[in-house]
Each structure stands twice: as structure tokens, then as C-alpha cells.
Point group: C2
Chain length 170, copies 2
């Protein structure tokens, strides 16, 4: 797998939810992460399926897609509308699985051969229970990440409701 | 203020983000909360304005409203679309302010005379830093609350996008 790689600790320092951790704490996160390789085109997670791990992109690029339109009629299914996001260094995905038991909210595929660091929910819980001060630092940032996303999504709801009101008014 | 009140600790036990706490920990939360009374009709917080505290409803009822349609044209402003939520015992609001620095995402008014418990962000940070095991329990639940809301909001985006596609297709 011919990819440039940052030293793992340096990579972890760039991750938003880990930014308050000291080197020793980053090492503890690294210790519970497992390296996994995915070939180009592989589906890493699929929207609607259960999942219990978060991923950190060690090398490579992924594509995150999410269905934006419901299939209204089986005979004439509407195309999925995709959001394409390029994951760069310091990017994580699947992080909601660290704190809840629910299905994946998006599909993630490998655009290039990918090396990922996989962090399982169980191991994460063990880590933050054994090191609650580290847990507080990570969970605060994760909460901030989620509340930022919630604000953006709420803005989208306002914009779409407005657009719909205008469209229905024509 | 003629209102029935649960003993404060019993009330705190009903709150989602505090449900994993032991009695001793609930008491610590209670110790940093200040009782505040609002007359009927008072605006407790206003959408778009800064705020640094969370509230627990001790007695009374509030109305939570949120703008759902942008004002497109100053001369012909569209009415606000409101979501009305009745707050019951065990209900909190403003909890996003505990973990982030941002403006209020909704307006909250007192439908009846209200007695609230106010928890300031500073005091909350001090509490979870001094008692990180308690902090982990609260922040995990807060994260779950936010991720549930994010899922619901994302579903709304999908539904609205679908409705808009149909409306534009007519």
C-alpha cells in the first residue's frame, strides 16, 4: 500500500475530538485502535446497518454518501442524492457509534486503498471509565461536534421549509 | 407561587442526562444549581442570543418556539412557524450551552409562573473537572441526546428534500 503516513500520534493530534488530550492520553487511544486495510471500492460501512466502531483515516480517501430523497414509489424509485466528502488527515467517521446503539447514518466507501484505525465502542467505554479525566476531554469535544452538526442540520430544515413554502405558493 | 413540587433530588433523577448518577452525584449537581422564578409570559431565553446556562424545570410550564421559515423579504415577512412543546417534570432546556459557546437555538417562554433550576456552564465545567467520573456519565447521556436529535433532524431534511423535489416536479 504505497501511501505517505504521518506518525500515528501526530495524526491523532489533528483529530477534533482528541485535541485536548496529552501525548500520554493519545497513546492510550492508539493502544485501543486496530489497523485495518480496505481495498479501493470497498464499503466500510453502510447506511442503515448496525455498527459499533469509529474509524480514523490513517491513509487514503473515503467517500461519504447519504440518501437525501425517500423512495416514494417502488416502480419509479428516485435516485439517491449523494453528498461527497473527501476525508483528509485527521478525519474520523462513525464516531456516533462510540456513544449510542443505532444504525449507521451514512455509507462510507474507500475511494483509494485505505488504511484505517478502528476504535471499538467497548474498548472506548473501558478507556473512558478507567480514565474519566480523559473521557471528559473526549466527550466534551464529541458533544461540541454533535451540537455543531445539529445546528447545521436545523438550519437546513429552516431553509428547506422556506423553499417548500415558496414552491407550494407558486 | 402555588405549585406542586417534587423533592429536588427526585426531580433530578428523572432527567435523561442525569439518569446514571448516584444520589451523591445528583446532590453535587443540585449544589451548583440556583433557583430562579419567572412570571407567566416571561422570556427565559431568546433564539439567536448568547447564553451560558442550562435550566431544569422545577415547577410550571414553558413553551419552546423556533423559527421555521426564513424572512425572505422585509416588506412581506413570513410568519414564524412555531413548534410548541410542553415541558413536564424532568425536562431541561438550554443544555447545549453547557458544552459550547453559541447562541440559543430556540426561544423559551414561561406559559405559567415557573420555578427553574439554573446551572451555569462555568459551575458545570468545574464540577465535571473535579469529578470526572460523574462528568463521563453526564456527557455520555448528553452526547446520546444530541445524536438522537441529529438523527431526527437529518430525517426531517430527507423528508423535506423529498417533498421539495415533488413540489418542483409538479
Amino acid at each position: 500500500m504505497p501511501m505517505e503516513q504521518l506518525p500515528a500520534l501526530q495524526l491523532l493530534k489533528k483529530i477534533y475530538i482528541l485535541q485536548d488530550l496529552q501525548e500520554k492520553e493519545l497513546q492510550q487511544v492508539l493502544d485501543i485502535a486496530e489497523e485495518r486495510d480496505f481495498p479501493q471500492g470497498a464499503t466500510i460501512m453502510r447506511e442503515g446497518e448496525p455498527g459499533e466502531m469509529m474509524y480514523i483515516i490513517r491513509a487514503g480517501e473515503v467517500e461519504i454518501t447519504k440518501r437525501l430523497i425517500l423512495e416514494i414509489d417502488e416502480d419509479a424509485p428516485r435516485d439517491k442524492v449523494m453528498i461527497r466528502l473527501r476525508a483528509d488527515q485527521g478525519v474520523i467517521f462513525g464516531e456516533m457509534a462510540l456513544i449510542e446503539n443505532d444504525v449507521r447514518s451514512a455509507t462510507v466507501s474507500a475511494l483509494t486503498p485505505c488504511r484505517l484505525l478502528e476504535v471499538k465502542k467497548d474498548a472506548f467505554f473501558k478507556l473512558i471509565n478507567q480514565n474519566p479525566a480523559t473521557g471528559v476531554k473526549i466527550l466534551l469535544r464529541l458533544g461540541q461536534l454533535l451540537s455543531n452538526r445539529l445546528r447545521k442540520s436545523s438550519e437546513d430544515v429552516v431553509k428547506l421549509t422556506t423553499a417548500l413554502a415558496i414552491a407550494l405558493d407558486r
